[in-house]
C-alpha cells in the first residue's frame, strides 16, 4: 500500500469513533503494536528533541525501503508515533519525503500539531523525514 492509502485506512478506522475518549483509547491500543526499538538504539542521540516525553526513533533501509522502530515513556506519545510509523514504514525514502501528513488533523489529533504543544508531533514528523532524506542521499 502507498503512504496515501495507509493514511486513508487510518482515517477510516478513526472515523468509527464518536468521541475523543474512544479515539484516544484506540490510539493507546495502537501504541501497543508499535515496532519497538532495540535497546542498543535507545540512546540519547536517538531521542527526538522538543517532546515533553521521551521518544526514541531508529531507522534502517533494506531494498530501498525504510523500516522504523521507536519507543516512548508516555503512552499517548507511543500511540502517536505508532500511527506515524505505520504510515511511513516499508516505504521508499522519496515517498516519505514527499508525504503529506494532513491525515493527523483528520483523525482528531489536530491539537497535537500546534507548535506550542510539548509532545512534539511536529518534531516526530520532521525526524522521520530527516531519516528519509539521509537515506535518499545514499541512493542518489
Amino acid at each position: 500500500m502507498t503512504i496515501q492509502e495507509i493514511q486513508e485506512e487510518i482515517v477510516d478506522e478513526f472515523s468509527m469513533f464518536d468521541d475523543w475518549m474512544q479515539r484516544y483509547e484506540y490510539m493507546i491500543e495502537l501504541g501497543k503494536s508499535l515496532p519497538i526499538i532495540e535497546e542498543k538504539y535507545k540512546t540519547d542521540d536517538n531521542i527526538i528533541k522538543g517532546c515533553q516525553s521521551k521518544v526514541w526513533v531508529h531507522a534502517e533501509m533494506n531494498d530501498e525501503k525504510i523500516e522504523f522502530t521507536a519507543d516512548s515513556d508516555a503512552i499517548i506519545t507511543k500511540g502517536i508515533i505508532a500511527i506515524l510509523i505505520r504510515a511511513f514504514s516499508g516505504q521508499h525514502p522519496k515517498d516519505i519525503i514527499d508525504a503529506n501528513t494532513d491525515f493527523v488533523d483528520e483523525i482528531g489529533l489536530k491539537e497535537h500539531l500546534s507548535p506550542t504543544r510539548a509532545n512534539g508531533l511536529v518534531s516526530m514528523i520532521k525526524q522521520l523525514k530527516m531519516y528519509a532524506i539521509a537515506y535518499q542521499t545514499q541512493l542518489n
Binding site: 475523543w20 483509547e25 521521551k54 503512552i75 499517548i76 506519545t77 510539548a118
Partner: protein
C-alpha cells in the same frame, strides 16, 4: 471571608468552555487570570490617554506620566518600600533578576561565592551561572529534603566571608514550599552578603514588607498577580541600586549626553531605558488595588482551605503521590500517578476542560532529585472552587482508568 461566586463574576474568562466543558483553570502558578477592572484599565489607557511619558509637555503625556508614576507608588505601598524610586518597572521577574545579575559583574571577584537554593526556577539559576562564568565566582547550592524543604544546616555551613550574594525564591514554583526567607536574609547579612528574593510565586499569596524583611532585592511579575504579561518590578534598596550600573543604554535613562561623555539619570530612570510598558505598568497598579480589595489575609485563608481539600481528595486516588509535602506551602499540588507519565495525564485532563501544567516546570534539578521526568501541577487561586477540585479528581480518575 471570600465570596467566591461574586469574585468569579470579575473574571470574564472563567465563563468560557474548553473542549465542550466549563473551563477549570488550575495553572495559576504559570499565570493568573485577569479581572475585568484590569482589562478596562488597559482599554481606557489606549482609548483615552495613550502617550509617551516623562518627555512631552502636552496634556496626554502628562496624564499618562501621572498614571504611570501613580502605579509605581501603589506598588511601593504594597511592598512597603521606603521610596517610590526603589521600585523599578521591568518586563517581568526574569528581567529583574538579569538587571541584578548583570549589575554584579564588576562587584564580584574570582572565588567569591554565590548561594542559590535547590528549589529554584531556571530563571533564578541560569543568570547566576552566567555571572559566575563572567567573574570566576563559584555557585553553591542549598540542598533540599524529600519533603521539598531547604536543608538549613547546610545553608549555615555554606555561608562565609566569601559569600557575596544569596538568591532564593520566596515560594517554589514546582512544589509550593514557602522558604524561611526572614531567617535566611538575617543570616546572609551577618556575613555581609546581599540577598535577592524571587517573589514570582509569592506575589499572589503573600503581602510582603520589604523593609521589615530587610531584603536587598525583591522581584515579581504582574501577570501572576492578576495583572498583564510583559511587566514586573525590581525592588532594590536605594544604596544597592545606586551601586549597580545601568543594565541597558538608551533614552530616558540619561541626564546629559555628549559624544565625549554621558551621565546617567537618577533612580528609577537609570534602569528604565527606552519607552516602557506604560499601559502594563498602569494596569499592574490596578491589579494590585484589586488584589488588596479582596484582601491578602482572606486570600491566604481561602487558598489554604482549597489546598487542604485538594490534597485530601487527590490522595483518595490509589497510586497518586504528591511531591512537596512541607507544612509551609501555598496552594500548589504537584503529583504523579504511579507508573503513568505526567504528560499522558495532562493530555486527558485537558480534554476534560481542566488546565494543569505538566512537565518539569522549569525546575529540572527538582525533578532530578525525585528521579522523575516531571509532574502534574495543579495550582489554585482565590477564584477557584472546591467543585472545580472535584472535577479535577474525577478527571484524574478517568485518566488513570484510560492509561493503566
Amino acid at each position: 471571608m471570600i465570596n467566591v461566586q461574586k469574585i468569579r463574576e470579575d473574571f470574564p474568562i472563567l465563563k468560557r468552555m474548553v473542549n465542550g466543558k466549563p473551563l477549570v483553570y488550575f495553572d495559576n502558578a504559570a499565570t493568573s487570570q485577569t479581572p475585568q477592572i484590569v482589562i478596562d484599565a488597559i482599554v481606557d489607557y489606549y482609548s483615552n490617554y495613550n502617550a509617551n511619558i516623562h518627555r512631552g509637555v502636552h496634556a496626554l503625556s502628562q496624564e499618562a506620566t501621572d498614571a504611570y508614576e501613580q502605579a509605581r507608588k501603589k506598588i511601593q505601598k504594597h511592598f512597603n518600600a521606603k521610596h517610590p524610586y526603589e521600585i523599578i518597572f521591568t518586563s517581568g521577574t526574569t528581567h529583574s533578576i538579569n538587571i541584578v545579575a548583570t549589575g554584579f559583574t564588576n562587584l564580584l571577584q574570582k572565588d567569591d561565592e554565590i548561594i542559590v537554593s535547590a528549589l529554584e526556577h531556571h530563571s533564578n539559576i541560569v543568570p547566576w551561572q552566567m555571572l559566575c562564568e563572567r567573574t570566576g565566582a563559584v555557585l553553591k547550592v542549598i540542598p533540599m529534603t524529600e519533603e521539598g524543604e531547604l536543608v538549613m544546616d547546610v545553608y549555615d555551613q555554606l555561608l562565609s566571608s566569601k559569600t557575596k550574594l544569596v538568591f532564593v525564591n520566596h515560594i517554589s514554583n514546582a512544589l509550593g514550599t514557602i522558604n524561611p526567607i526572614e531567617e535566611m536574609i538575617k543570616k546572609a547579612h551577618t556575613v555581609g552578603a546581599a540577598v535577592l528574593i524571587d517573589a514570582a510565586q509569592s506575589g499572589p499569596h503573600i503581602k510582603p514588607d520589604v523593609q521589615a524583611l530587610d531584603v536587598d532585592f525583591y522581584v515579581a511579575s504582574a501577570h501572576k498577580l492578576c495583572g498583564p504579561t510583559g511587566v514586573g518590578m525590581l525592588y532594590g534598596k536605594e544604596e544597592w541600586l545606586n551601586k549597580l550600573p545601568p543594565y541597558q543604554g538608551g533614552g530616558e535613562m540619561i541626564e546629559e549626553v555628549t559624544f565625549e561623555k554621558t551621565t546617567y539619570a537618577g533612580l528609577p530612570h537609570k534602569f528604565e531605558a527606552g519607552t516602557p510598558n506604560i499601559c502594563g505598568g498602569i494596569a499592574f497598579g490596578v491589579a494590585i488595588d484589586y488584589m488588596n480589595s479582596i484582601g491578602f489575609d482572606d486570600i491566604a485563608v481561602y487558598e489554604n482551605e482549597l489546598l487542604e481539600y485538594g490534597t485530601k481528595r487527590l490522595l483518595e486516588i490509589e497510586g497518586l503521590r504528591i511531591y512537596g509535602t512541607s507544612k509551609h506551602k501555598t496552594s500548589v499540588i504537584s503529583f504523579n500517578l504511579e507508573g503513568v507519565h505526567p504528560y499522558d495525564v495532562g493530555t486527558i485532563v485537558d480534554k476534560l476542560g481542566i488546565a494543569v501544567r505538566t512537565g518539569h516546570h522549569c525546575a529540572q534539578p527538582i525533578m532530578d532529585f525525585y528521579q522523575i521526568p516531571g509532574t502534574i501541577r495543579a495550582s489554585f487561586s482565590f477564584y477557584n472552587t472546591k467543585e472545580e477540585i472535584d472535577a479535577l479528581v474525577e478527571a484524574v480518575k478517568k485518566a488513570k482508568m484510560m492509561l493503566s
